[in-house]
Symmetry: C2
């Protein structure tokens, strides 16, 4: 496996987001939104219709760039994030990803047996996954030196849940049967995913990503010991690899429902943690003891409330983090499909207006 | 509203469960399972088929008693729990509960407006809900003085989520729109539910329940401040009411995904807390500082693993709680539908064999 070349040093017109991740002083709290390029925006729905489907959109670098730029153009956010899916890696492994109408993702060839695990290889980021790197390069070109670009991947555990279950899940019975019944088999699957995610993120960095985020959507369904072994430890190995090969690129880890694990997540050596709305930022900040920046954490459903309620909820999040550097404002999870776009604008405007007081 | 007469003092042949809830010494850790009378048991499926449907089963005191006793007869558990549904109260409020085939619950008349909230009354536990009290009395008769009987209710917040959403939910957009946009309206709905749940549980105690448990399935989806206002505070008012009117009956509170709130839950004056598998019992015990007993917390999916893995997982839960009184062994949530019944037996047997060492 070739180490991609290190990230290009870039001077950005707006570097608030990167400075906040490094816990450096900023004039105001930077803001972006998870899933900011998405179905709540009419312009996104038009681009997706043009592409003909979700994975078709993900595979088209020009359209990926188009939808990535839409929320930037509309709201003037402080970071762009690559438009892609978390399941590109298992798809590139040949598991046969599809999205049924009105359903979640499905794999034609789920991974269940030792033979299934042995068969899986590490996808080449510039081979099967070249379409993602092409999207990164295209977006980088469109952004120029205006704004940072965030690359991302699903966490090994989260990818494994879909690969083993064969679809989304509520109870995670199959992957947990593997975790509890054949933990060594799951370790092997996760080792392949650690290597795959590491190469994938390093390639995104080489292609133009300024920071990377690992989305651990399902780590929070595990008991603490299993979380450490199957979710946190694989992420820690990825952080170590990234820090060795791209030391200047900030790494953000986000475990949904991971409020009880924040201190251990900070121990991985990552730069920042995503925090969902079920943990107060004051509690989170105390738990990590200033070792990492924090990103979050407005409940996305707040954006269904009236503008004045949104403003006061933004004020509460800013107050909960408190004064000083190291906060990136975000939702606590992806923006919801039926969010009125102008309500997202109210939130962003409130961050702009209310946050400078915390940076004097 | 009439206060039901206080609980009858009862001497039980097996009082391990009640002693553990009161943090009194026991010979071994008592064990029962949430949803122990349920679809994983073939004898339950036969009873339900005989009843013709789920709510028909809930409304038939003889059949409720039959299914309540099935896991007792099969496994020799340390407590029986009333067979019923958490949505009996909103059903009795006239919201039109139904269960679609293969779907969750649905309400024909969800509660959305101030007029909807004003229209709702407190159901009479010996009126519209008499079928539940009849079930309690019938089960009490069948149990005699052998074993304790647990009564239960959904928490006000959890009942409100179904009443406002009109069904189960993933994002809770409607109830959260009320919580964030019209919190005073939600307060009024919750006040009616506090009164309803209090009367309902007091009536269960009068009818023969030896302990009661409040299931807060959805408190964990709220930010901490909203959890305190809309989930914890209503439960605290119920605990105060129960402690005033039935001081000798232990009260158990259980918020799923509430690991971060355990200390505040213990402050309500309840006797015990249910703990799900995402928090170690050692952590939970430290958080509550010996003020309450703890009930839990094996991940129900462990029961899909091989018997030796189940045994070691039981050992880990016992070890996590450690020595001394105040532990009731349970799953961290309801037993899953496809659990092999003999695997539940392995778990129960392991608790019997391994737990005496923690009570010397």
């Amino acid at each position: 496996m070739n180490a991609p070349s290190a990230a290009v040093a870039r001077t950005l017109a707006n570097d608030r987001f990167l400075r906040a991740l490094r816990r450096q002083p900023v004039d105001r709290t930077p803001v972006w939104m998870m899933r900011q390029a998405g179905r709540y925006l009419p312009e996104y729905r038009a681009s997706r219709a043009k592409a003909g489907g979700f994975m078709e959109l993900c595979r088209n670098a020009e359209l990926c760039c188009e939808v990535t730029m839409q929320p930037i153009d509309r709201y003037g956010l402080d970071a762009a994030i690559l438009f892609s899916d978390i399941l590109t890696i298992p798809d590139a492994m040949g598991l046969g990803l599809s999205f049924g109408e009105g359903e979640g993702p499905r794999f034609a060839h789920p991974v269940r047996s030792a033979a299934d695990v042995a068969r899986i290889g590490v996808p080449d980021p510039e081979g099967e996954l070249r379409y993602v790197m092409d999207a990164v390069r295209t977006i980088r070109g469109a952004l120029g030196d205006r704004l940072p670009l965030i690359g991302f991947s699903g966490s090994p555990w989260t990818l494994a849940t879909y690969m083993v279950e064969g679809s989304g899940s509520k109870e995670f019975a199959k992957i947990k049967a593997m975790a509890y019944g054949e933990p060594e088999l799951l370790d092997r699957l996760l080792a392949t995913l650690v290597e795959s995610v590491s190469q994938y993120l390093l390639a995104q960095i080489a292609a133009g990503a300024d920071a990377v985020m690992v989305f651990d959507t399902w780590g929070g369904v595990l008991p603490p010991a299993a979380y450490r072994r199957h979710s946190l430890d694989p992420m820690a190995r990825i952080v170590a690899r990234l820090k060795a090969q791209a030391p200047d690129t900030p790494v953000v880890l986000f475990t949904k429902n991971g409020g009880q694990h924040l201190a251990q997540m900070a121990d991985t050596g990552c730069d920042a943690l995503g925090v969902d709305w079920t943990t107060d930022l004051a509690t989170a900040r105390a738990a990590v003891g200033g070792r990492v920046a924090l990103q979050g954490n407005l409940d996305p459903t707040v954006l269904f409330a009236a503008p004045e309620r949104i403003r006061s909820a933004v004020a509460a999040v800013l107050e909960s983090y408190g004064a000083g550097p190291g906060h990136v404002f975000n939702l606590g999870h992806g923006i919801l499909q039926h969010t009125p776009p102008e309500h997202a604008g109210v939130m962003i405007e409130a961050v702009r207006e209310l946050s400078p007081a915390y940076h004097r």
